[in-house]
Point group: C2
Chain length 456, copies 2
């Protein structure tokens, strides 16, 4: 392992320069104007994978953004690992809140600032460089490796399940490894064994045919923003409990063991207050913060708009208003069923005098895998060799829609081995990645392939 | 009168060309980037007033946008009329909904389309041209005239009350005439004898320090949009009644005579449905539509924003959310007191886990004047001479903050003599003005000055 470590040390500056060029590509999947940047990023990956010593690196066109595939399959009799990651990133607005431009990577205080630094380009890059280090120093890999990198994770991976279904044979493996989650806190390696699912929707409220003078017509017609506010307010009670009829029906209750595992993590509420900067914590009554984040479903409003958005005053009643909503789902909630329940709720609670439509944009089923699986335990060991502390086994509040799809289509154990930290501003201005975890993460991944070969 | 009418007919094309140049100036007072256009519009007015034969036309600087003043004071022993109007206009967004550019005036189907065509540049222009017609044909005016034109009406006239207070002597008159209201319907001349007041506010909700990943933190903190929606929804009950404690306390109840006057206008609810294109009418339970519009106060949300506004999905919990609100007030509600009641309501109903602030932007007190005053009755007569039908006496739902200020500072009868029509899209895309009322309005104003001289 020393020779590999030395290689990584020696090449660190070169590697960081490569990572900078990767992060400089504005591969925002949510905005159609970045389509060309997405393609350039896929090409960048093919080049980088090939350079690392992987074979068959190529771009696969899909109905949406391309998938990048590469492999190295010469470890006969050894397990095959499918490494999944995504090269697309979140939008960057509000741009004015970034201290340095999101696509001009910058290291400050041993942290690398850029959109995608931790979610997920930085972690994808580590996997490539781990392979390069082992191949360049030992000439072979201890396991067989397949890379599958998509460009639509941030918009719900619409094309990837079809790609996986159509290329089942080529993607067949013994275990799937994904580095797109985080560690619970600095210095605490973490394996996440479950993720929430998601359904993303937009509610649209339509009132008068055009914006109206609020003096001339105010009082005589329903205001679409008022109507939308009433609907949005009707989704929760004052104690944070979701009031949509049947919403919690399919939720698997928390076991005593899991409850104890969560308590054992000893994550104080104060740390969440500090991370979020929220005046206080707030959530569903009767549950701890970790339970609210990991095993309870949510309904969050991600954006709202309607009427006058400029400076000063404009006395209108707007013609329409809309809100974007995502529900985070837990086993065994089904996204389609949740949308149907919300539609029913809207039908029942629709304020008078407006038309309301609900559109489903995005969905992913929730996922859980047993944490005593040998692939997960080997990952825990690899972490411990580098970080020198016990690995924490957690669940995650976020969603990786493709995880559930992999689970359903390929039916393989999935190891979520993440190196991000909770305060690294994923999806927000000033996203960054701690370079300490870049170094340790690289080493951990190298260890993992050897551990895995041993326990299989 | 024939000679005046002939003059107006002869000059019509020239006058319309002048009006086009007036309407081409984008004098949007709400947007700081149009400051220079405001100044150019004031200069345009000085030129136009002078050309009409008015004297002492000049620009008066204020703390805000300039006031334009001019007079003609040679009708000894006759009453003095102060004509007020405004040369600023509303913003134009959403721009894509305009069929022709808002500052490129265009006549289609005998209607003049442009921002400000009816509110209020078109009506200001008619007053100038009426004076020009009388002066050019008869060499003098039957009354003394003072013009006072401001550039901040659409942002609540912050500087004008100070200007009026400081120039009381110069503005002294016997009656104030304002053409910034409308006729109840086509062919029905209307004098509005009361207007609602207004207070414009912004509610701002602050949650976490930056936008957060809704998967990683969703469920554990209050979402500012959810909190804002709850607050906004708490302002009304399901039947459109405002639930802010004490909100209706100062409202003067409607008299039996007024109720009958309103009913006699025979304005069908269907006409409001048609004008607004709203699926149904909706408003405070227990009141007719005209009562809701003219004598009942309202609380309307004019704009809301928070979180992701782009295409597609972005799974954030936003750091903040805000809404712009205006209350329309009726006698004897006081804007400051209403803001205090709203602040108290917010303090009581504030959702957990966020900070909420309320800021007052804009205010105007409500106004009513007796409709049997000789100045009003003379205006009614002038209308009837041109339109050949009885004048309707109404109240108005909109607010002209300066009306109340004039009332309080100069203590004069105020005649609201408007030529707009309700479907002319004031404050909305495709604002327009019917040329029929441009012609008839010009004639009516000319008649009015002679009527007024006679009855005084």
């Amino acid at each position: 392992m020393n020779i590999i470590q030395n290689y990584l040390k020696e090449k660190k500056e070169n590697h960081l320069n490569e990572l900078f060029s990767f992060l400089s590509l504005p591969s925002i999947s949510a905005l159609p104007e970045h389509k060309e940047d997405i393609n350039k990023t896929a090409e960048w990956l093919v080049h980088s994978l090939t350079q690392a010593g992987l074979e068959n690196a190529s771009i696969y066109q899909t109905n949406g953004n391309p998938v990048v595939y590469a492999d190295w399959l010469h470890a006969e009799g050894k397990p095959t690992v499918l490494v999944y990651g995504h090269y697309d990133v979140q939008p960057v607005d509000p741009l004015e809140l970034w201290d340095s431009p999101p696509f001009s990577p910058e290291i400050r205080d041993e942290k690398l600032y850029a959109r995608g630094a931790s979610d997920d380009k930085g972690q994808v890059f580590m996997h490539i460089k781990a392979i390069e280090a082992i191949l360049q120093t030992t000439g072979s890999l201890p396991v067989n490796i397949k890379f599958c990198m998509e460009g639509e994770e941030e918009i719900g991976s619409p094309a990837l399940p079809i790609f996986v279904e159509e290329n089942k044979e080529q993607l067949s493996a013994d275990v799937i490894v994904i580095s797109d989650t985080g560690m619970i806190e600095e210095g605490k390696p973490t394996i996440c064994y479950g993720l929430r699912g998601l359904c993303g929707m937009e509610i649209h409220v339509k009132g008068p045919k055009s914006d109206l003078h609020s003096g001339l017509f105010g009082g005589a017609i329903q205001n679409p923003i008022t109507a939308l506010s009433e609907l949005l307010a009707s989704f929760h009670d004052k104690n944070g409990v979701i009031t949509v009829d049947g919403f919690y029906n399919q939720v698997t209750p928390l076991t005593k063991e899991e409850k104890e595992t969560f308590e054992a993590l000893q994550i104080a509420d104060e740390s969440f207050i500090e991370q979020t900067g929220s005046p206080t914590l707030f959530g569903e009554e009767g549950y701890s913060t970790l339970e609210r984040l990991w095993v309870r479903p949510t309904l969050e409003i991600n954006g709202i708009k309607g009427g006058f958005q400029g400076t000063g005053v404009k006395t209108v009643i707007p013609s329409e208003a809309s809100a974007k909503i995502t529900c985070r789902l837990v086993p065994a909630q089904d996204p389609e069923e949740i949308v149907a329940l919300l539609q029913k709720h809207i039908d029942t609670h629709k304020p008078k005098g407006v038309e309301v439509t609900l559109q489903l944009f995005d969905k992913g089923t929730p996922f859980v895998t047993p944490f005593d699986h040998k692939a997960i335990q080997a990952a825990g060991k690899a972490y411990e060799k580098v970080y020198k502390v016990p690995t924490s086994y957690t669940r995650g509040g976020g969603s990786i829609p493709i995880v559930a799809a992999f689970d359903q289509i390929l039916n393989l154990p999935i190891v979520l081995m993440g190196f991000g930290l909770p305060d690294e501003n994923f999806h927000a201005p000033n996203e960054h990645f701690h370079l300490e975890n870049y170094d340790k993460g690289l080493e951990t991944i190298c260890h993992y392939w050897f551990e895995l070969a041993e326990v299989w």
